[in-house]
Structures are given as C-alpha cells and as structure tokens.
Amino acid sequence: NILNSCVIKDQERSVAMEDFWAIVLAGLKVWVCLIVALLMVPAMFGFSLGISETYMKILVKILEWATLRIKTVNKAERMIQSSSFNSEDDGSMEEELRGLRRSRPKPPVGGDFTLSDCFYFYRRGIEDIIEDEVTQRFSSEELVSWNLLTRTNIDFQYISLKLTMVWGLGVFIRYCILTPLRIMLASIGLTWLVIGTTAVGFLPNWRLKFWLSEWVHVMCYRICARGLSCTIHYHNKENRPRKGGICVANHTSPIDIVILCNDGCYAMVGQSHGGLMGVLQRAMARSCPHIWFERADMKDRHLVTKRLRDHVNDKTKLPILLFPEGTCINNTSVMMFKKGSFEIGGTIYPVAIKYDPQFGDAFWNSAKYNMVSYLLRMVTSWAIVCNVWYLPAMHQQEGEDAVQFANRVKSVIAHQGGLVDLSWDGGLKRAKVKDTYREEQQKKYSSMVVGSEEGRSGNSD
C-alpha cells in the first residue's frame, strides 16, 4: 500500500512538472509572438503602432510631476547656470586694458605698459579656473531638473516618500522589464544584419541587389533602434543626402550612426577592427561598398582623401557619413570641424542631431565608460529621444579655403541644433593645446604695449 502511494505521488509530481514546463513553453511562445508582432514587424516595415508614443507621454507627465515636487520642497535657489560664475563685462582685451589704464596719462616714450595690465590676464585666468568653455564639453550635460535617474542626480536630497517610490518603480521597470527586452532586440537586430548582408552579398550585381541591401540595412538598424528605445524625429526630409555626396553631422556617441541610418543608407568610413566589430564590418561591406581602412593607412592623409574622393566621384555609390569633430562631444556644443572632410570636394549635406537629455544621456564619455558599460547605460535609461534636421546642401565657394568652409558648415549646424558654436578643437580632450594660441595672445598684448608699427622693429633679433 505504501509503495503504491509513493508511486502515485511520483507520477503526480512528474505530471505536475510536465504541466509546469508546458506552461512555461506556452508562455515563451506567446512572448516571442508578441515581440515579433508588436516590435519587429513594425520595425521591418517602418510603421509604428504607437506604443512608444504612449510610453513617452506617460513618462513626460510623470517627470513633470516629479519636477514640481522637487521645486516646492527645495525653494532655495539652485544656481545652475554657468553664467553665474562669469563676470558680466566680458570685453575684449583692448577694451579692458584701456579701461584699466584709463586714469593714467600715456608715457611719452617707450611702451605703454602699466603694472595694472596684469589684472586683465589674472581675472581671465581665475574665471577659467572656476569654469571654462572647453572642459565642460567632455562630460555629461547637467540637467535643469532631475529626471528620476540616479546617474543625473548631482545634488541628491531626500524629498518625499512618493518621489522615492516613483523612482524605485522606475528602477524596477527600467532594469527588469525594459532592459532584457532591449538587449534581446539589439542582438536579434545585429544577427540579422550579419546574416542578411552576407546573403545579399551572394547575389550578382543587379538593381535588385542594391534595393535588397538597402532594405536589409535599414531594417536591421530599425530593430537596433527599437532595441535602444530610440524615438527619432526627422525634419526637412527633402534635404536628405543623395548619392555621391558627403553627409557631415555633429558627433555625440556611436549611436549617431544608428540614428542616421534609420532613415537612409550611408557608406561608413572608419578603421577596420577585429572581433565582433570586424565581423559586422566585413558583412556590411559585402552587400554595399563601405570604406574601411587598415590602421596603418589611416595615418596617410593623401591615401584617405584619394579613396574618399574616388567614392564620391562615383555617382552610384551611397553618400559618405563623416563626423568632422573627430571625437564625441556632449551635445551642448559643436567643436572645431577638421578640414580633411571638406577637402574631398563634392556636395556637403549638413545634418544636426540634438538629443533630448530629459529621457537619457546619450553622450559617450570614453574616458569614463567603455563601450559595453556605455551600451548598458543606454538600455537602462528611459529612452533616447532625438531630433535630426537635414540642412540644405552646401558647396565650397570661390576663394574660400577648407577651414573657412568647415567653419561655415559648423555654424549652420550649431544654429539649427541650438548648440554653442566653439572653435576649440575636440582633440583637447586628450591632447594639450598648441603653443601658437598662447603666442597669438602675446602678440595681441604686445600691440597694445608698443603699437603695431613700432613693435616690428624689435622682431628681427
């Protein structure tokens, strides 16, 4: 009897286990069907079901509520603006030195120097120590109001239980629900990219091949964009870059490529890597011509320019995508455009990309985070929201050299994106500033001491 009851219990247990696994399997099937239907199919064919829009609306309402709560509790002034540390009268060197020397008669002979001249340099120096225009561009932008992410909270104070609960709920949703979903989507997208482009690469060079290749590329980038939960608004689509042109944009992160390629196909330029990146690069190159350089070749500027020029002159090839800043900047400003991109010739199609920092910070601070931790931060933000403006095509004008042309394009992009237009080099992130700039300052000051004509007589020594 006891034996019988044990056997029966065992059978019951195994049946229960089978049921359990059957339920799990069924659940997985439903989950996968949902994903395919709700996320991948719209991504493949480029229409939207409105799920992300609803998500955004809810999120904006919650963030507004949170901001209000923080403001009512924290009435003390929040000195956010950097201008509070800078002097109001930021006059030029000439104006200030003249002001400093005002109450003193000009000496009859010799240079026009007074001991008070040092005050100009010394004030500027202290201002720059407290806050300068350049180093702040290499770290994430500070937000005006907290967006319920711990990473953007510089001045954490406990406000209220409700707010903390909302924040906790946000953490749960972001890390436990959204992140696994996004990671899965991103891996599916990349896998399809490799498989799809390799498959298309086997076709002979018919028109069909080009069309299929474009479709595969865009589809996979769309899946990746969903994977990162990007919401992109494109403006002025009539100015989209055309074949045989060069597309230049401001650079904030590697995600810029995903953003731009969601709406068109571009030829990438870059260094060929090994590993996973290399697999991706080789697969993409099979279906349509991208420009990958060996590391050694990148140093040879003439070789690079020649290859790019050949690509541009072939009117059947896709527009090249270039980031003339050369490094990632934090999306509050546009820094110096390197003239190499503007010496190739061809039509330049400027594009301005501006991320909305409320939903997530897209800037890649390569000194602080490597690629993997950066991507993890991306998938655990609320969303990546950005605006892309296509600007009218520009050509180099008569009598304009590459540097002036580059500055012209840069100011157009900065103006459209609402970014600060700086002429400092983004390379200052890692390199020291050149001595020539200090020499310019010295020259300027010298002309105020001796006047420009007299000064030259002493130069020949």
Partner: protein
Amino acid sequence: NGSKSVVRTLRPEAFKSMIPTIPVTNMVCFFAVSHSQITRLYSRFTSLDKGENGTLSREDFQRIPELAINPLGDRIINAFFPEGEDQVNFRGFMRTLAHFRPIEDNEKNKDPTASEPLNSRTNKLLFAFQLYDLDRDDKISRDELLQVLRMMVGVNISDEQLGSIADRTIQEADQNGDNSISFNEFIKVGNLQHINVWAGDHYLILSYILLSVLQD
C-alpha cells in the same frame, strides 16, 4: 587611499548648520552662499582632479585650455601652491579663490581694528603684487619685472625696448631709491588706486572659518 578630503563625506546641509554656532575670533568670517555653490566648486575641483587623490597638481590646471594659453597662466597657477609644494587640496583651492569676492558696501563700515578681510582691495592688490614677485621676497626687482613682461609679450618686443619699459616703470613707482618696488610703493602707483577690479562679478563666497574646520 586615505588621503581623500573629508569634504566628500560632509553633506551640504552640514555647512549651513555650522555657521551660526562658530564663534568669531580675530578672523573675520564671511557667510557661505547656498550649498549648491560650494557643491559646484567641489565638483569642479574633482573634475580637474584626474588622478582622483583629492589634490590638484600644476598639470591638472594646465589641462584647462584657456588657462594654458593665458600668458600669465603659470603665475596664476603658482598662486595656488604654497611655497615648495606641488599639490593643493580643496581647502587650499578655496582659500585662493576666496579672494575674489566683490567688495560690498556694508563692509566699508566695519570695525577698522578687525584684521583685513580676505578679499579687500588691499588683498587683491597683494595678490597681483605676488604675480610679479617671483621669488617671494616682497620686492619686485628689475629682473623679476623683466621676466614677467617677457611672459606677457612673448617674442614680439626686443630686449632693449623691454628693458627700457621696465626701467621706466620702476622709476615711476620706486620711492626709496632701492631700484625695486615694495608692496607699499606698488599700491601707490597712480591708476592702481582707482581700479575697480572685479566690478559686477558674482563669485562665490566662502567662510574662512569653514576652511579651518575642514581639517584634513
């Protein structure tokens, strides 16, 4: 890594609560502005501190591009470092910056026997004097003046012309005939008396008392 400044663990609220209870000794104290300004400067300090050891070196300052191209940049950086030292902590950083507070009207009526507040006009002029006084011997010699002039003008002016400028400047300022400028002579130089330096700026204010409390 035990050398991290204690400020990192001090909550900003603690600053506010400290101020009313500190007795005024013969040091004049100023009052801290909102804690967010102190926090701001501290985050600036840490962003400059690439080595993350709680102190700044001269190279950390040089990393600011606008300061690196400033002809007197090296002299200004030097002012942050006391004699013979190569590292400055947050306390020293704030102490130097505490000179840059606008001179407020109500201070003109203060008790004249109290010692000089950190940021009075005289102290600012002393700071400028120390920009010129390279060896910190309280005198600006002709050589020192020449060196600083050379920093400011670079290669654009000849030695002879620069020498005559230096001579003239010393001649105008020197009163006791020792061919160098002392601080008392410096402040009497004509237009320095009438300068209204830093008019309209809004730099932070920091309590000197707080600085002494922030012992390492």
